[in-house]
Symmetry: C2
Subunit: 442 residues, 2 copies
C-alpha cells in the first residue's frame, strides 16, 4: 500500500473559484483581469449550485456583498483583502447580520458591533458574504452542514460551515474558531487548508466565548499564501516578512503521541510516507521527543475546558437549560461541574509551565507533523468526529496548519496533515507549511 | 505628622445600608430580621437621596429589582447572594438592561445575553439593580459620576459608577472591571473596598474587551468578607475555605517600586505607619526585593494594552471614529498604532516569564503593601486620575485588594492601601486583607 499524495483542492478545481486563491484574486484585481463583482458572482453561483446539498450558511447577505463589491469595482485596489469575499462563523458577532451561535435560543439575534476580526477584515476591504454554520455554541451538537466531498459524511466541527463553504468554492477564505479541534478537523475533513494561530496572536474579542483559556480564531483557505494575507489584515503589515523556507536541512519531528494508535492505517501511512518524501528533500526527520509533555495534558485540557465552558454559558444554563442539547449538557458542561475550582486552577498552572517546557522541546525542531484527524471524515451527520489529534497543540497554544495532501483510498475523501510550530512562530511555520504542501502535492 | 487610621466606611455609616455588608444582610435574611425588599428599599432611598449629586447609574431597573426581591421575601434563603442588591458596570452585558459601554455610540444598545458573571450572580439569587457608569470603553474619558465624598472630586475610573454606588450606600456590592487600575483606584478614591482578582480566575466572557491580556473582573464592597461571598457565587462553593489569618508572623513586603516618589506625603506616611502597626502586631516587615521585575514592566504594559485596545475597538475605528473622544484616540489607541507586531509579541513573551519570576519573588512574602493610588481623589471631573500604582500588579496578574484605611488630612478624602498577593492566591490574600483591615481600623 502506498499513499498517493495529491492536492484535493486541485482535484476539486472544476469548482470555480475554488481553484483561485485570495492571493491570486488580488493579483487579478491589481492587473485588472478581474473585478471584485466578477469573483463575487462566481461565489454566488457556487452557492446557488451547492448550498442546497452542503448547507454551509446560516445567513447570506448577497445584496450587501454585491453593493460593496460594485463599489470596489471602480476603485484602485487598496487594502490587504481588497475585493476578497469571506465567510464568518456564526459564533462571531456581526453588526449587520444576525449571529445565532448555532442554537435556536438566539434565532435572529442581532449583535450591536462587529467582532474585532470582522471589523479588521472589512477595514482591509474584504467582502463579508455571510455567516457560516457553527455547531451549537461551538461544542459538538451539529448544524445542518454536510461534507461537500460526500454529503453523507460529516464536515467536522465546530467550524462546519466555514470549512464546507471554502471547500465548495462559495468563498475563497472563511473565519472559524478553535477551542480543541474546531478548525483543523473540519479543514482536514473538507480538504482545505486550515490555520489555527498561536493563542492570543489574533484578537478574539466579539467572538462568543467557549473556553477562554483555549479559544482561538482560525481560518480556511485554498492556498497557504492566503494565510499571510489574513495575518497582514488582522495584525498589520509589520508582521515578519519571511522568504521561502526550504525543507533542505529542516528539522521535522513526527509526533506519535498522543493518540497515534487511534489513527487509521491510511493516516499513519500518510505520515510515514511524508517523512520519506521530506528526507528525500533533504530534511532531517525524527520522532518527537516530547519529554513527558503529553502525559497529563488531556486530563488538564478537559478540566479547564469543562470548568470554563460551564461558566461561559451561565446565562443559558439559567434561562434556557431545556433548550441546550443533550450532548452539550452531558458533555463539556457536565465535565465542568465535576471539576473543583482547585483542580481547575492547578490545571491552568500546570499547563502554563508545560507550554514553556514545550518551547524547549521545540528548540531543536522546525515543525512537527502528525495526522490532522484520526481518519477521513466519518460517515453520518450526527457527530462531527474526534478532536483528539488537535487537543494537545491547542492546549499548548501552538500554531497549526492542516494541509490537504492525499485522498483516502477506500472512501476517496481528503486526509489532512498537521504542521505544528512553536508558540508565536506562526509566520515561520506558515512558510514551512508552504514548502511541505508544494513538496507533497506538486 | 501622624496618620490617623480610620475606617471611612464607618465614618460614612450614617448612610444606610452602607453600614451593612452583603454578609451581614445574608445573616439578617437567614434570621428573618430583614427581608430582601427592605434592604432593596434602603438602597433605593439612597439612590433617591444621592444619585442627583453622584451620578453613579447609567440605568436603574427599580421595578425589575422590586419584583424579584418581593419574590424572595417569601422564600427561605438559598443561593450565595440571596437578596443582595448589586450594581453592574456598564461595559458588562445584561440581557434585560441596556449596555452602553460609556459611549453615545451605543445609546440604548441591548445585548442578547448576560455576561457570565451577571448570570452567576443572578443564579445565586442576587438582585441586579442596574448598570453603573463606565468611562468611554473603560478607557479614560469620564462619565457623569462624581465622588460621593466631595462631588468636586473625581470618583476615579473606569469603574466610576460601581465605586460611587457602593460608597453612597446605593448597593452593598458592585461589579467592575480592571485593565490597569480601573477597580483599585476608584475604590481608593471613594473609600470602599476594591478587589481585582488574579487574571483568569473569574470568567470575563460577556464583558466588552479592552485589553484581553489584562482585562479582569473586579468588585466593590464595604466588608472584606463579602469578597468571599462573591467568589463563592462566581466560582463555586469548592473554593478553599481558609480560616482567619493573623498578622503575627506574616511576612509583609513594602513595595516602593515602581513610582513610590509619585505618592503624596500622606500616602507614603500611611504605608510607613501601617508597617509599624504590623510590626507591633508581630509581622515581619521588609522592603520588597523585586529582583528587577519592575524594570521594563510599564513599557511592556503600554505596548500590550495599546496594541490590543486599538484592535478590540476595530469596529468603532472603522464606523464611528469621529465619535471617539480625543483622549481615547490620542491615548491608548494611538499607543497601539505605534507598536509593531513583533514588539507586541516580545512584550507578551517577556511578561509571561516575568510573572513566573514574580512568583519566585513572592515565595518569601505573604503579601505586599503599597498605596492604592498616588493620593486621595484629585479635584475635578475631567480626569479619573492615574493608574501608575496599579499597572504593575495588573500586568503581573496578581490579586489585589484596596482597603480604605485613612482619611487624608488636608482634604478629608479617603486613602486606600493595596494588599497584593501572589497569582492565584486570592482566597489567602483576602484573609490577610481582613486581618490588615481589622488591625488598622479597629
Amino acid at each position: 500500500m502506498e499513499t498517493k499524495f495529491s492536492n484535493p483542492i486541485q482535484i476539486n478545481r472544476s469548482i470555480k473559484p475554488n481553484s483561485i486563491s485570495a492571493s491570486a484574486m488580488r493579483s487579478a484585481f491589481s492587473s485588472r483581469q478581474l473585478k471584485p463583482s466578477e469573483v463575487l458572482e462566481e461565489c454566488i453561483a457556487n452557492i446557488d449550485l451547492y448550498e442546497k446539498h452542503v448547507g454551509a450558511w446560516a445567513f447570506i447577505n448577497i445584496e450587501g456583498a454585491r453593493e460593496f463589491a460594485r463599489e470596489l469595482d471602480n476603485k484602485k485596489p487598496s487594502g490587504t483583502l481588497f475585493g476578497i469575499p469571506f465567510g464568518i462563523k456564526d459564533n462571531i458577532d456581526t453588526f449587520d447580520m444576525p449571529t445565532e451561535y448555532g442554537t435556536d435560543i438566539y434565532l435572529g439575534h442581532q449583535p450591536g458591533r462587529d467582532a474585532a476580526c470582522v471589523a479588521e477584515m472589512r477595514a482591509s476591504k474584504g467582502v463579508a458574504l455571510g455567516k457560516t454554520i457553527c455547531t451549537e455554541f461551538a461544542h459538538r451538537h451539529p448544524g445542518k452542514t454536510a461534507n461537500p466531498w460526500n454529503i453523507e459524511h460529516t464536515p467536522g466541527g465546530s467550524s462546519s460551515g466555514s470549512a464546507a463553504a471554502v471547500a465548495s468554492g462559495m468563498v475563497p477564505i472563511a473565519i472559524g474558531t478553535q477551542t480543541t479541534g474546531s478548525v483543523i478537523r473540519p479543514a482536514a475533513y473538507c480538504g482545505v487548508i486550515g490555520y489555527k494561530p498561536s493563542y492570543g496572536d489574533l484578537n478574539i474579542s466579539g467572538v462568543l466565548a467557549n473556553t477562554p483559556s483555549f479559544d482561538t480564531l482560525g481560518f480556511f483557505a485554498n492556498c497557504v499564501d492566503d494565510l499571510v494575507l489574513i495575518r497582514k489584515a488582522l495584525l498589520d503589515e509589520s508582521i515578519p516578512k519571511i522568504k521561502k523556507l526550504s525543507l533542505k536541512g529542516a528539522r521535522v519531528a513526527i509526533a506519535t503521541k498522543p493518540y497515534w494508535e487511534e489513527a487509521c492505517a491510511s493516516s499513519q501511512q500518510m505520515i510515514e510516507e511524508a517523512a520519506r518524501v521530506f528526507e528525500d528533500a533533504g530534511a532531517e526527520v525524527f520522532a518527537l521527543d516530547d519529554q513527558g509533555v503529553f502525559e497529563n495534558l488531556s486530563e488538564w485540557n478537559i478540566e479547564i475546558s469543562g470548568y470554563e465552558f460551564a461558566r461561559t454559558l451561565a446565562h443559558e444554563r439559567r434561562l434556557a437549560f431545556h433548550k441546550l442539547s443533550e450532548i452539550l449538557r452531558n458533555g463539556r458542561m457536565a465535565d465542568g461541574f465535576r471539576v473543583a475550582f482547585s483542580s481547575y486552577q492547578a490545571a491552568k498552572k500546570n499547563l502554563e509551565l508545560l507550554r514553556i517546557k514545550f518551547d524547549e522541546v521545540m528548540s531543536g525542531v522546525d515543525f512537527v507533523i502528525c495526522p490532522s484527524a484520526q481518519s477521513a471524515a466519518p460517515q453520518g451527520l450526527d457527530s462531527t468526529g474526534s478532536a483528539d489529534f488537535n487537543m494537545a497543540w491547542t492546549s499548548l497554544h501552538c500554531p497549526v496548519i492542516s494541509l490537504p495532501v492525499a485522498l483516502e483510498k477506500n472512501t476517496g475523501l481528503p486526509l489532512g496533515l498537521q504542521v505544528v510550530g512553536t508558540r508565536y512562530s506562526d509566520d515561520r511555520v506558515i512558510k514551512f507549511a508552504e514548502a511541505v504542501f508544494k513538496c507533497l502535492t506538486n
